[in-house]
């Protein structure tokens, strides 16, 4: 199956149609995407600032990482899931969008950056665990991490400005407003 066929198949799924035809689902997916990314960036920044020696310098690094990163991953799952559902509604348009592609590339960079840390300094963390800052390579990883995630946020916001929203296929959505929803 070629990519164009896959993209149009994704758009044709009943799940994609359900989201497109609802007044609330897409805005709510966007909202939970923001909540998710806020927690991803917020918690990663806590770790990065620790590596840089800019904050939490009195806390052992390994303890902090095991304390916080599980929440980062949980938030990442929420963000990826809501992001995938939004992608589904207009797959062809997003796939060809420059900022969407940039954002995906940034996510790959973030993964490579994280892996390079885990496979090297992460394994010797017991040696510098209680130091106020990580060794220079660790600080470089932290700076890169902050830069990559902030860039991903900018790219993500730009996707919304450079793509047209998918058209509703149903003429009148069943859930026409929150006001009516509350009156029922």
């Amino acid at each position: 199956m070629d990519i164009a066929a896959l993209l149009s198949w994704l758009e044709a799924t009943s799940l994609a149609a359900r989201i497109r035809d609802s007044l609330f689902l897409f805005p709510l997916l966007e909202s939970f995407h923001v909540i998710g990314l806020a927690l991803v960036f917020g918690t990663i920044a806590v770790i990065d600032l620790r590596l840089l020696g800019a904050a939490s310098t009195d806390r052992p690094f390994k303890r902090m990482a095991s304390d916080i990163l599980k929440w980062t991953w949980a938030a990442f799952v929420l963000t990826a899931l809501t992001g995938s559902l939004m992608f589904l509604t207009n797959a062809g348009v997003y796939y060809h969008n420059f900022y969407f592609r940039s954002k995906m590339a940034l996510l790959v960079l973030a993964a490579v950056n994280m892996l390079s840390f885990e496979l090297t300094l992460g394994r010797t963390a017991h040696r510098w665990d209680k130091a106020a800052a990580a060794p220079p390579a660790g600080r470089a990883v932290a700076i890169l991490s902050l830069a990559i995630w902030i860039s991903a946020i900018f790219a993500g916001r730009l996707i919304g400005f450079t793509t047209s929203r998918a058209k509703q296929t149903a003429p009148a959505p069943a859930d026409s407003s929150l006001e009516e929803l509350f009156q029922k």
Binding site: F24, S31, A38, F41, R59, F154, F161, S177, E179
Partner: protein
């Protein structure tokens, strides 16, 4: 409010943002999102500590001292970028139900944050041992989550039906 919004949209700064909207608006909004990430992240770390789910090697006062200043600093950043967004698109922002409900929750959330940090500084043990503090932790997180939802709904104010002033006019 409508005439105020229309007047605001004729001011120099507003016209400047409108004339550079291809980059100005997305840039301001992105900085606003980075700001909310620092706010929600800080609230989250304090709340996890209150719930006993993270940061238990730190006292409550240490946790509040670590994240409180970042929370307040990011709130100032959000105020600045938020004001720029209102100046840049006054009608889109001010003539909505979502915006004003959001402002109400922001006021409540900020007031709670200020009072909480003061209480931890003065009566740490009292705050820590109260059972209600766990409900407080969940509630404050929900307030900031709702603020994020309402912020996004400014762009979709029609979901409120006739509650939206944009739909009435």
């Amino acid at each position: 409010m409508k005439s105020f919004a229309e007047w605001l949209s004729t001011t120099f700064l507003s016209v400047f943002i409108q004339n550079h909207n291809s980059w100005a608006i997305p840039t301001i909004q992105s900085i606003h999102i980075v700001g909310i990430a620092i706010v929600l992240g800080s609230v989250f770390m304090i709340d996890l500590r209150l719930l006993g789910l993270a940061g238990m090697d730190q006292t409550l006062r240490q946790t509040s001292n670590r994240f409180g200043p970042w929370l307040m600093g990011a709130l100032w950043l959000m105020l600045a970028t938020g004001i720029l967004m209102v100046i840049g698109e006054p009608v889109r922002e001010l003539i909505t139900f979502s915006f004003w409900l959001k402002m109400l929750l922001v006021a409540v959330g900020t007031l709670i944050a200020v009072i909480f940090q003061r209480a931890v500084r003065k009566h740490e043990e009292v705050v820590e041992t109260r059972r209600a503090v766990k409900y407080f932790a969940v509630l404050t997180f929900l307030i900031w989550a709702c603020i994020i939802v309402l912020g996004r709904l400014i762009a979709y104010d029609h979901v409120w039906g006739s509650w939206s002033p944009a739909a009435r006019s």
